[in-house]
Amino acid sequence: MPDAILRVFRGDNSGGATVDYKVPLAPGMVVLDALHSIQAHQSPDLAVRWNCKAAKCGSCSAEVNGRPRLTCKTRMDSLPLDQPITVSPLKAFPVIKDLVTDVSWNYKVNKKIPAFTPRTDVEWKIDQRDVDRVQEFRKCIECFLCQNVCHVLRDHAKHESFGGPRFFVRVAGLEMHPLDGASRTSLLKNEMGLGYCNITKCCTEVCPEEIHITDNAIIPLKERVVDEFYDPVTMLFRKLRGS
């Protein structure tokens, strides 16, 4: 089989440039295999995150030819091999080195979300249909590709006031759990900036787990926020009560 050229970003938070590497192709090869080949034979200090290599852990996210992808799931033969394949780090997060970015912000956002709060007044029986609805959200492998493409983060850098699709998905999983007794609507409205999302569905498009982030998580959550804070009757009642 012929060779491919990988054009990989090399550098750190002070800057960097792309470097071209020639990599021999093998049947069924994925971009992560090509990066490993570079490490083993050409540049052992090429920084890449990866773990399961089976699209189950969400570690190896990068931008391949400008498109956010899991590199373990991106087949080389799905790319135009007559030109160099560019591999760059996720844009929405600061670069640490090469393809490794500082994703610690996500872990900070996660801490703000009140945990599952089991209801105590019920028998612990759950219908499979309720499980299915919540399991869609719990499929998330935290690859942060949705965070990376969300324009609120990528273009407007609203990291301080916005939670991002990943964490709307997490909140949806909690809010729609049939036996959860907590409410997270004021968190969504105030601290997670749900209103910034104007449902362009970029997140849904890149999700490797095919979670319908916008339709099944964000829009229902927006509806809950509206019901609680913008319902005309409730608003009037609040006004009269002076709260």
Partner: protein, 572 residues
């Protein structure tokens, strides 16, 4: 004096953030201990996410006759009676509570029509016993534990690698390591340490394990003086992907067989009829892996050297619902639609039954203050682990380790970090940067994997094992001359150099233990000693560091009390 190093102080330090480490952390926090959790990757990425099929727990939601006694007997039989009986008993008794607890923390398992947790069949389990979420049970478990830890304010040190345990006299005093990001060194002061670092899968070429599984915890414990046990027992999962080459070894869950998948050779024969006519595809993993290997070796393998595993006789929607990640994995990585045709599968290195020798009740190692749980510990699974018993192991013994480590810490005075040990650990890490010339670490890793694959694999014999041990000595020498390119900042070549030291050390423990056990039992198959030996049924192999040489001795398998012996007789 630790002024030179960034230093953190805790009562309990937990190394590893998979299921066992997280469960240990939760329990130690519940006991009131100050807990630090260190992991090589980002939180939530440990190999527990790869566990697919389910958690074995005798909840009797589907098969009403199930109880802990049957689970205990299945585990002992699967382990060919080399298991620590008390661990097997505790595991079977406590697993159902550990599963129910997960649901109180937000996990959601698949349901029965009456709204209870659904359970599926698995190899070696008498009843439908595996609580599951489609084929991504491990992700559900790790996310649940992670979220619970976040809720309790768990102190996590992500992308941080421990390279040495620090001792104060005979007891554990803490650990030394480095931050992967910047390469800075860090010291941890702790009254007790729990090792939950998983296994050694990266020593083999065809493996389901990620880069993390380099036997770190076993090596740290060994160097600190702890005993290792049953190191000859390495589980080859019968079904890994075999084609294309890049995906070779990636796990194909046993749940495919649990849901009715059938194994055939290239002649279309359902060959398990020959090897285990009673249990067929749901025989134990050691038997199925050897059967596939034998079919291939005798010329009845598939085009790419495996067996066919077929689930396409089930309705497509059912397959997609029960095995969604298998469906996607084959479609995207191998261009195979498993609802329409068979998968090609073959054995892949998957799990280490052996590990740090621990006390059944407390998970304490033979070193005061050092505890171990999960794959890093030995005892529960004996000579062969049943599918589904790993996730329950993580929960049951993770909790026990966390509890005992917190109790130990509460009784212990403050420890001191000996600066000479820290400095020695630092020098060891910096040495490769001082060398010029020499080879990169990757070729040594490649050669190690070939050696373990070919000489210390599914079938073994004396000649191969001796040759393997000789090769390991050569690799150790080569490792002392390895060269590092670049800086200390996120440098995989540097990291691998350190990990290789652990891999070589513990690979030697595997090969030496395999050489010593002159019989075939469970996952350990000797061509030159193909039968069970009743004498060896009474002995565990122990590996210990004796003044810097690896010493082996035998330890009697703990005697089972009469009531459990009777139970095994009754449930034959």
């Amino acid at each position: 004096m630790t002024a030179n190093y960034e230093t953190h102080e805790h009562d309990v330090l937990i190394i590893g953030a998979g299921g066992a480490g997280l469960r240990a952390a939760l329990e130690a926090i519940a006991q009131g201990a100050r807990v630090g959790l260190v992991c090589k990757s980002l939180l939530g990425k440990a190999h527990t996410v790869m566990a697919e099929g389910g958690i074995a727990a005798a909840m009797a939601n589907v098969d009403k006759s199930d109880d802990w006694r049957t689970h205990f007997c299945d585990t002992m039989r699967g382990g060919k009676f080399l298991n620590n009986w008390r661990m097997a008993q505790l595991h079977a008794q406590e697993a159902p509570d550990r599963v129910r607890e997960l649901e109180q923390w937000g996990a959601l398992f698949d349901r029965t029509p009456t709204g209870d947790i659904l359970q599926r069949a698995f190899g070696g389990h008498t009843f439908k016993r595996l609580c599951h979420v489609g084929d991504r049970t491990g992700l559900e478990m790790i996310r649940t534990l992670q979220d619970r830890g976040v809720q309790l304010g768990m102190d996590v040190f992500m992308e941080c690698t421990v390279t040495r345990l620090i001792k104060d006299g005979d007891a554990i005093a803490g650990a030394f390591g480095y931050w992967r990001e910047q390469g800075r060194f860090v010291a941890f002061k702790a009254k007790s340490v729990v090792i939950a670092t998983g296994g050694i899968g990266k020593a083999w070429r065809v493996t389901s394990n990620s880069w993390e599984y380099t036997a770190d915890g076993m090596a740290l414990a060994y160097e600190a003086g702890a005993e290792l046990m049953d190191m000859e027992f390495v589980q080859f999962h019968p079904t890994g992907m075999v084609w294309p080459p890049g995906v070779q070894g990636i796990l194909v869950t046993e749940a495919v067989r649990g849901e009715g998948g059938i194994l055939r050779n290239k002649l279309g024969e359902r060959f398990m009829e020959k090897y285990d006519p009673k249990r067929m595809e749901l025989s134990t993993r050691d038997v199925v892996a050897r059967s596939i290997y034998t079919e291939v070796k005798e010329g009845r393998g598939t085009e790419h050297g495996g067996a066919y595993l077929d689930i396409s006789h089930k309705p497509a929607e059912y397959v997609k619902k029960k095995l969604p990640s298998m469906y996607h994995q084959f479609k995207e990585l191998a261009d195979v639609d498993i609802t329409k045709g068979p998968m090609e599968v073959g054995p892949t290195c998957h799990y280490m039954m052996g590990g740090i020798r621990v006390d059944a009740e407390t998970a304490a190692s033979t070193v005061p203050g050092l505890f171990a749980a999960g794959e890093a510990a030995a005892g529960l699974h004996g000579a062969n682990r049943l599918g589904g018993n790993s996730l329950s192991d993580l929960l049951v013994f993770g909790r026990r380790a966390g509890k005992a480590a917190a109790e130990f810490a509460a009784k212990s005075p403050a420890t001191n970090l000996d600066s000479s040990q820290l400095e020695q650990a630092e020098r060891e890490m910096l040495a490769p940067f001082e060398r010029s010339g020499g080879e990169f670490p990757y070729p040594i890793h490649h050669d190690l994997q070939e050696t373990m694959q070919n000489l210390v694999g599914i079938f073994r014999n004396e000649e191969d094992l001796k040759k393997g041990i000789g090769k390991l000595e050569e690799f150790k020498l080569r490792l002392t001359k390895v060269r590092i390119d670049g800086s200390r900042m996120f440098n995989p070549g540097w990291h691998l150099t350190r990990d290789l030291k652990n891999l070589l050390l513990i690979s030697e423990a595997v090969a030496r233990s395999a050489l010593a056990r002159r019989e075939s039992r469970g996952a350990h198959s000797r061509i030159d000693f193909p039968n069970y030996d009743p004498v060896w049924e009474k002995k565990n192999n122990i590996v210990v560091n004796d003044r810097d040489t690896m010493a082996l001795h035998e330890h009697p398998v703990p005697e089972m009390p009469p009531e459990l012996k009777q139970l095994l007789e009754e449930k034959k």
